[in-house]
Amino acid sequence: MSERQWHTREFPEAAKDLLQNSQLRKNVQHATTVIQGKRNKVTAELPDWEDLRESGAQVRAHTLRHLDHYLTKFEENCTRAGGHVHWAADAAEANRIILGIVQQHSAKEVIKIKTMTSEEIGLNANLEAHGIWPIETDLAELIVQLGKDRPSHFVAPALHINKQQVRTIFQREMNLPELGDKPEDLATAARNYLREKYLRIKVAISGGNFMIADSGGVCILESEGNGRMCLTLPDVLISIIGIEKVIPSFRDLEIFLQTVPRSATGERMNPYNSVWCGVHPGDGPKEFHVVLLDNGRSPILADKESRQTLQCVRCGACLNACPVYHQTGGHAYESVYAGPIGAILTPQLLSMEKARSLPYASSLCGACYEVCPVKINIPEVLIHLRSKVVQQDQATFAGKFSLWNIGMKTAAFVFENADRLVIAERLGQIGQKPLVSKNGFIEWLPLMLNGWTQTRDLKAMPAQSFRQWWAKERGSESNGMKSTGKKNA
């Protein structure tokens, strides 16, 4: 299996390539439009939808403010129920812990429920390197794994692939030359392929949607029953979960079990939710491990403006709502976490050292904020992170003396003073003359300004500016705005 590489390119470069793939764009647009429509319908039918969003946001924000308290409480209760809680500071540590448990049980194969956290730490590649074969059981993850592809959406990882493409992958990888392309046929093929594996394989690996501090329980939402198979049949279960995924109380699930299914798949409830605490004799695995993963999360808490990023419950609604994601799909983000939430989460997880173009991969239209079931103000965080990127650049010699920085500094100098602006406008009116075409548009600009005119024309500055017009028309009046108001009244 090919090793999945992330963060190899910046967003603009990756997006440019993917925009050439019209089949992918068609698949992504079809899928996101369908989910978005269903989501809008089932959220509109709840009169208390906004109250649920508000409570969800408050519970998540409260938990993050006291994350150390709730994590230790979860640990205490999960341990009391017979679970083993491990703490992993980074990906390497998490991989070591998981590999150790798998090897302790001499397992050569493990079955897996879809988990983005596993993707984040590169778990599959690490297991394979040690001769252990991880088998993805979520239908979409299976498609991605057998197709040697990368997930492009964290609720529906194969959203960029259509049914004919799935058939081709299954025909080849499952040796089923006669397989049809009806979704039912494809689901049946997956069922038959995996069933024997569920019954036989003794170690399972999952993520987790919520860790419940007051009961020590873990909750997983899913559709197919592959999750339940992995959570119930094997002898050993290992759940790798980000430290931010804890909630204070079992009762808080009454909020999230209403908002997450409606946001994620547009269903009133997804087919299966499982909640379990540690081990229960005669029911499910005999051994249960939780690996709590930090991997860059705890430092994010220090920044009060971007801390809300960690409120995310991974429903994917912001991806489906995003006009940029609609065009590019998930792979353009070169990140495990794609879409608007990925654009703010990924650079922060990487300490703003990589993926620095992602905060710019947005039109700041705000659709993501509007649909977020825990009210993460993604546009606000995007702007905050953009300012961090700029500050980082300005701190370097090359950045400080870059054309871009000099240009922006000059613009700021001009805009902060009315007299300077008037002079700049006059200079612009004269200076633009050689660039204006006959149609009154500027079709080409030099240097970095060329980025604008590459894909669109710029209207030339008019011969008379608004300020000049105002001075001419109302210059004699002492308070122009006020008198205009009176005249119109």
């Binding site: 308290h69 703490w87 049946t188 499910g284």
Partner: protein, 218 residues
């Protein structure tokens, strides 16, 4: 018994450093109790409307629904099984004998492994609570519901739900299961399904592909 002690301390210290403040458990509990919870707690439907809503939601998921009275449960179960072409079912311990029709086999499958359950025709269970608004039944590890494997591996699941077990909203259901929250708990909303291929909901992947409810209303 916390493991990886070293990293535990490193992570907790990193969190505390980032947050900058440390509050007592009491003050955290006080803050938690003041969080806004203006969402709907209680439903408003009368009994008939509630039963209708629950039925509609189940039908939308492509589950079957049949009504029974407490003295006709076994007859209705027999009808449903005949309709599905089943000769018998397995189930957990604690299934009341008046649910079981005479001409069909029933075996208690406690402790059976997945291979054995995979060969059965289906499973019969009760439930702890059901939610009308979302068409969900909630199973816990209790008599008449059993271990999670029972309602998972067989390809067919028949669930007997009593009218008084049905609540309208999700918060009402949580109020009922809060005291047993540490039991293995499964929310089931229709047969297993996926929307992973072109966002079309397809019934029947790994969980039971067929799911019926017998609704006991009097």
């Amino acid at each position: 018994m916390p493991e990886s002690g070293g990293h535990r301390v490193v992570i907790l210290e990193s969190i505390q450093r980032a947050l900058g403040t440390h509050n007592s458990a009491d003050s955290i509990a006080a803050e938690y109790s003041h969080l806004t919870r203006d969402y709907t707690q209680r439903g408003r439907l009368d009994r008939e409307q509630l039963l209708d809503l629950f039925t509609d939601r189940l039908l939308e998921y492509d589950a079957g629904v049949s009504r029974a009275a407490s003295h006709t449960i076994r007859d209705v179960v027999a009808q449903v099984l005949t309709g599905r072409g089943k000769g018998g079912l397995v189930g957990p311990a604690g299934i009341p004998s008046n649910w079981l029709p005479i001409d069909f086999t029933f075996e208690v499958a406690e402790g059976w492994d997945a291979y054995r359950l995979d060969k059965t025709e289906g499973v019969l269970t009760g439930c702890t609570v059901a939610i009308a608004e979302t068409g969900s039944i909630v199973l816990q590890n209790a008599p008449g519901q059993g271990a999670r494997i029972l309602s998972l591996v067989p390809d067919y699941h028949l669930c007997v739900v009593f009218a008084e077990q049905i609540v309208e909203t999700v918060p009402e259901a949580f109020a009922r299961i809060e005291s047993t929250s540490t039991l293995p708990t499964t929310f089931i909303s229709g047969p297993s399904a996926t929307a992973d291929i072109e966002m079309t909901r397809i019934k029947g992947v790994h969980g039971p592909r067929f799911f019926d409810v017998v609704l006991v209303t009097e």
